[in-house]
């Protein structure tokens, strides 16, 4: 089995290096095809491992070599395939294989075609390290590695100012969280003496509650950055500057879920500190609502989907925080499928619309883009959580969890958010595919994407529809590792009322969205309509003014303070002090050189002065030495 582990892990790296070889040469198809094939190999290996684990096999654990060893610290490159990591491996390799194949078509005309595949495969490699590592340090390698690749890919079109800005923002914001993560790792090391998951978690049960709380908080800060939880969320929407396949792979299906993975992986820790878990769940619920509200009014197709991702991450954190780790992981998986599908569909639309992102400028596209229309609609249905699509099984389960755990506030927030989710998803679908063909005003002639791109997307479509039916198999597998709590309402009546009620609520929201946006009356907003001048609308469309606040109150002061530090403090205080001391010495020399006038008689006078001073000093010291006893007596008499 170990050989499959290595194949699954290293084929993306080989693919990345292969594509990297062509980095400087002009675009060649082979730089896209070979990495895709290698990723497919990786996917197959992961499947073999999954089948093995499903068949009740022992988890596969290898230690490749030592990485760092100093003092008592020992960190190997160790990898483990167990029920949790194999789930993640499946999600990562499957979605990334599809995205790779899709990208061959999507990036067809781009100058940086070869480079793109090199980065994309490098990302998959980092992500595989992240999920497969058997220790915190290895996790951190992957953690930073995906951050690096995300930086490279968001800023892929580096000639665009906005893209490079967004890339830097994402990197720096992630770094803030990574500091928390790093501190968490230090704390784990100094309190348990190891960074290996198994030993560390085993040692944690004997630790002080306070230490555990701190570990939990710091690790979660790390998770907040990667999963873009409030207040570190702004980078995710800006990251949409990257190519759309990147958004599908990194900013929907894989990297952003790393935070959820971390919490799930650290479940023995979070089980010991339920109060931190509750905080995580509350924050998750808040982010779910918060992000969904911003998605309601946004006029950028990709950003709407990004906020939707953010909102769904909130759901996952609710589940993870409430101790329903397997539910979180299940939703993570289901979400990866339908959200990647949604993004890839959005990519098709973007291509068709010549990079136009405003859904108000589209409309009626279902006639020209039938395949994409079906896929995006079904993905939205799955996202909204309609039976029997994937979202129903995973998302409604989270609602149930909140209800069963008797956190009714969280439950009602999530329920309300479910309605919002349905509304903004179908607002998007309606605006893009239904209604009048508004794009004609702008002289655009849309066309459907390549056939093979649609074919590549179809596995995702299939999974978005049927993933829910794996629920029980999945439950049995993953609960070998995670707490096996089944969340069932005691009363069957309540269960049916809740389920049907939720479904009705969601369907109503969809119907409302269609009614409002799927007609011919929708116009391209020009900033004059009543709703656009509404305060609520303004707050929401400006993302609660949070980016503005960050810019005004963090970035600008930092820049100004830096400038002050350099020009005022460093140059005018620190350096000036040094120069001042040198100046004093220099000027004292300048002053005293007058003594050395070269005039014999002056010099003789100085000589005489010197002799007299020395003589008198000798006399004074001689006397003091001689009469020291008396002097002391006199001084003590004076009370000194």
């Amino acid at each position: 089995m170990e050989i499959y582990l290595y194949i699954a892990l290293f084929s993306p790296l080989v693919g990345s290096l292969f594509a990297g070889l062509f980095g400087a040469s002009p675009r060649t198809k082979i730089a896209g095809i070979v990495p895709s094939l290698l990723l497919f190999t990786s996917f197959l290996s992961s499947t073999v491992l999954l089948v093995y684990i499903l068949g009740g096999g022992e988890k596969v654990h290898v230690e490749m070599m030592t990485w760092m060893a100093a003092g008592d610290l020992y960190i190997p490159f160790g990898f483990v395939v167990d029920q949790v990591s194999v789930t993640m491996m499946m999600v990562v390799t499957l979605v990334s294989t599809i995205v790779h194949i899709y990208s061959i078509g999507y990036m067809d005309h781009d100058k940086g075609f070869n480079r793109f595949f090199s980065y994309l495969s490098a990302f998959v490699f980092s992500m595989m390290i992240l999920v497969m590592s058997d220790n915190f340090a290895g996790l951190f390698i992957g953690w930073e590695g995906v951050g690096l690749c995300s930086w490279l890919l968001i800023g892929f079109w580096y000639h665009k100012e906005s893209a490079t800005w967004a890339a830097n923002e994402a990197f720096i914001m992630n770094r803030i969280a990574d500091l928390g993560m790093l501190i968490g790792i230090f704390l784990v090391y100094w309190s348990t003496g190891t960074l290996q998951y198994e030993q560390a978690f085993a040692a944690m049960s004997g630790l002080d509650k306070e230490v555990l709380t701190w570990i939990g908080i710091f690790l979660f800060i790390g998770a907040m950055g990667k999963s873009a939880q409030f207040p570190l969320h702004t980078w995710l929407a800006d990251a949409m500057e990257g190519p759309t396949p990147v958004s599908a792979l990194i900013h929907a299906a894989t990297m952003v879920t790393a935070g959820v993975y971390l919490v799930v992986r650290a479940n023995p820790l979070y089980d010991l500190i339920p109060h931190v878990g509750l905080f995580i769940a509350s924050l998750g619920a808040f982010v779910a609502l918060f992000a969904a509200s911003m998605a309601l009014v946004n006029r950028d197709m990709k950003r709407i989907i990004a906020y939707s991702t953010l909102s769904q991450l909130g759901y996952m954190f609710v589940a993870a925080g409430l101790g329903a780790y397997w539910v979180a992981l299940f939703h993570l998986m289901a979400h990866a499928f339908f959200k990647a599908l949604l993004f890839l569909g959005a990519g098709n639309v973007m291509h068709a619309m010549h990079n136009e992102l405003d859904p108000f400028k589209m409309g009626g596209l279902r006639k020209v883009m039938k395949g994409t229309f079906i896929m995006m609609t079904l993905a939205s249905v799955a996202l909204a959580g309609i039976y029997p699509f994937a979202g129903f099984f995973s998302k409604d389960l989270i609602l149930e969890v909140a209800f069963v755990e008797q956190h009714y506030i969280i439950y009602s927030v999530l329920l309300f958010t479910a309605g919002l989710t349905a509304f903004y998803s179908f607002r998007l679908v309606a605006l893009i595919f239904h209604g009048e063909e508004r794009y004609k005003i702008f002289g655009i002639h849309p066309h459907e994407a390549y056939k093979f791109m649609l074919v590549a997307m179809s596995p995702l479509l299939l999974l978005a529809i049927i993933a829910g039916s794996f629920k029980m198999t999945y439950f049995e597998m993953v609960t070998a590792m995670l707490p096996a709590t089944e969340y069932h309402l005691h009363s069957v009546v309540t269960y049916w009322i809740m389920t049907i009620g939720t479904q009705l609520f969601v369907i109503l929201a969809i119907a409302f969205a269609y009614k409002k946006y799927a007609n011919n009356k929708v116009k391209v907003p020009d900033g004059t309509s009543k709703i656009e001048n509404n305060l609520c609308y303004k707050v929401l469309s400006n993302q609660y003014y949070i980016p503005y606040i960050y810019e005004e109150y963090l970035v600008k002061p930092y820049r100004e303070l830096s400038s002050v530090f350099w020009k005022e403090v460093d140059m005018k205080v620190v350096d000036a002090t040094v120069d001042g001391i040198a100046g004093i010495i220099y000027s004292s020399g300048e002053k005293t050189r007058v003594m050395q006038s070269g005039n014999l008689s002056t010099m003789l006078k100085w000589m005489v002065t010197g002799v007299i001073i020395l003589l008198s000093l000798a006399v004074v010291f001689g006397l003091t030495a001689r009469y020291s006893g008396e002097i002391k007596a006199i001084l003590s008499g004076l009370g000194v």
Binding site: T66, F171, L187
Partner: protein
């Protein structure tokens, strides 16, 4: 030959430098590269012969100089100094190999070979006076390099560099003399041998004063905040090769001396001053990172980033445990490689455009993709990306210090944030966007000669990031013995507590003895 390999390492370049005067101008470059390559091969041979499992000094040489005052010519290497010696010979080699055409190239090469002698001498000297002589001698070639081949402010910069560090070293010399005097008082014989000083247990009050005296000398060399202002001038004015050697090797003399002198000789004082120094180090990290962010000149960004990273090294050193000190020594190597490479990279663009202002550039990724790639790699190493060389050192240093203080480590950890801010901003300004300046449109990408220097550095950066073990093991062993020595020597309760005892169960034994 093996017995005298350290002497050969020191004096071979110096002799070669003297012979260099009679070599013809046209063949001097080949001559210099050949000498430096032989020296590098010798230092690699030293590594090959080095026994990683021994924690003490190896290849010791001893020769009396002034026996009546106990001044001897003593040399030796251990895991702490070995790799810095190798790094010094390595950088001289690639520095010479990639040297661009300068005026008076003959003098430059002779100076560099002479500089190499002093650098190796500092790191292998085990006698305080010999150490001091090489320490001061190393200023002369650097002064000459900055003063003769520097920018418009070169005289000011070189004089500032010289006087500043010289003043500091004089204070250090006084400390050394007092230390020897104290040794004489305690034992009745004079000695300047560092290993013999190690055996001396000083009263805490003396330790504090001596620590301060040594600290001033070392801190200016590092340079620690607020003694750092000579560095931006020196880097700003020095030619590329000067900056590379200065950043890669000369700054390490200060941090190396902390580990060689301050920690084992004054363990109680080290614990006493741990927090003040840690705070200085944190100021260094954050403050200089912010100053680096405000710079307009790419070379100054790299220069200030050097100071910022040196802060992490200092912090690791004063973690006073094996993890931290090992990390800080590793980070010395790492920072040498990365900042040396960054200065070389800045030199590449300076050779093409004769300006270092970032506003002059933009969109270079279009024009010079290979250059942008290597720069990007070094940038990522500089911000401490895992699997690059810097991360190992930074991780261990911070991990080590976390044992001593949580809050301070969190503050120091912001290094990974502020570092990313200035580096990414600088990279964005230079490489991203469209080519706005017409002069940049046809810049040639990195040449073969430049790649000769950059490719090995890139390989080392990644290789030691993935597999640091061959270097970490010897460092770890030597550090462990120093930490144990410190623990045994320390007299105060606080120091016993802060410096870990590596011999497990010893406390139990002594307790049992007392019980009997």
């Amino acid at each position: 030959m093996i017995d005298h390999i350290l002497s050969i390492l020191i004096f071979f370049p110096a002799l070669a430098a003297m012979l260099g005067f009679i070599i013809h101008k046209d063949s001097i470059r080949a001559y210099g590269v050949a000498i430096a390559t032989i020296e590098f091969a010798l230092s690699l041979w030293l590594w090959f012969l080095f026994d990683s499992n021994v924690s003490g000094m190896q290849f010791m040489e001893q020769l009396p100089l002034v026996p009546s005052f106990g001044i001897n010519y003593i040399l030796g290497v251990d895991g702490i100094s070995l790799f810095i010696v190798i790094l010094a010979s390595f950088f001289t080699m690639i520095g010479l190999a990639s040297l661009t055409d300068t005026k008076n190239i003959k003098n430059m090469i002779i100076t560099l070979l002479f500089l190499q002698m002093t650098m190796v001498g500092v790191f292998v000297a085990l006698d305080a006076i010999v150490f001091y002589v090489f320490w001061e001698l190393s200023l002369v070639p650097m002064l000459y390099i900055i003063g003769a081949w520097g920018g418009p402010l070169r005289i000011y910069a070189s004089v500032k560099f010289f006087l500043y560090t010289f003043t500091g070293s004089l204070v250090m010399l006084v400390g050394m003399l007092f230390m020897a005097y104290y040794y004489y008082q305690a034992t009745g014989t004079w000695s300047f041998a560092i290993l013999e000083w190690y055996r001396l247990i000083l009263p805490e009050a003396f330790q504090l004063w001596l620590f301060v005296a040594f600290f001033i000398g070392f801190a200016i060399k590092v340079p620690m905040f607020p003694f750092h202002t000579w560095l931006p001038y020196a880097h700003g004015q020095a030619p590329t090769i000067g900056s590379v050697i200065l950043a890669a090797i000369l700054l390490k003399m200060g941090t190396y001396a902390f580990i060689r002198f301050s920690l084992p000789m004054f363990p109680d004082a080290s614990v006493f001053f741990m927090f003040p120094i840690a705070i200085l180090a944190i100021i260094m990290i954050i403050y200089t990172a912010m100053v680096a962010y405000a710079q307009e000149d790419i070379k100054q960004v790299v220069a200030y980033s050097s100071v910022s990273h040196m802060g992490v090294i200092i912090l690791g050193t004063f973690a006073l445990n094996v993890e931290g000190i090992t990390g800080s020594i590793f980070l010395m190597i790492a920072h040498g490689v990365v900042s040396g490479a960054l200065f070389l990279l800045v030199g590449v663009i300076y050779d093409r455009r004769h300006t270092k202002m970032m506003s002059e550039f933009g969109g270079l990724a279009h024009v010079m993709p290979r250059y942008a790639t290597i720069f990007g790699l070094m940038l990522m190493a500089s911000v401490g990306m895992p699997l690059t060389i810097n991360f190992v050192g930074e991780f261990l240093s911070l991990l080590g210090f976390y044992k001593q203080s949580h809050i301070l480590t969190i503050l120091a950890g912001t290094a990974i944030i502020v570092g990313a801010i200035y580096m990414l901003t600088a990279y964005k300004k230079m490489f991203f966007g469209n080519v706005t300046n017409e002069e940049n449109r046809n810049l040639p990408d990195v040449s073969k000669r430049e790649l000769l220097a950059l490719i090995p550095l890139a390989i080392i950066t990644v290789w030691l990031g993935i597999y640091p073990k061959p270097i970490l093991v010897p460092i770890n062993n030597s550090v462990a013995s120093i930490v144990q020595l410190m623990h045994d020597k320390s007299t105060t309760e606080e120091a016993k507590k802060r410096i870990p005892n590596l011999v497990k169960g010893e406390d139990v034994k002594t307790l049992e003895k007392e019980a009997h």
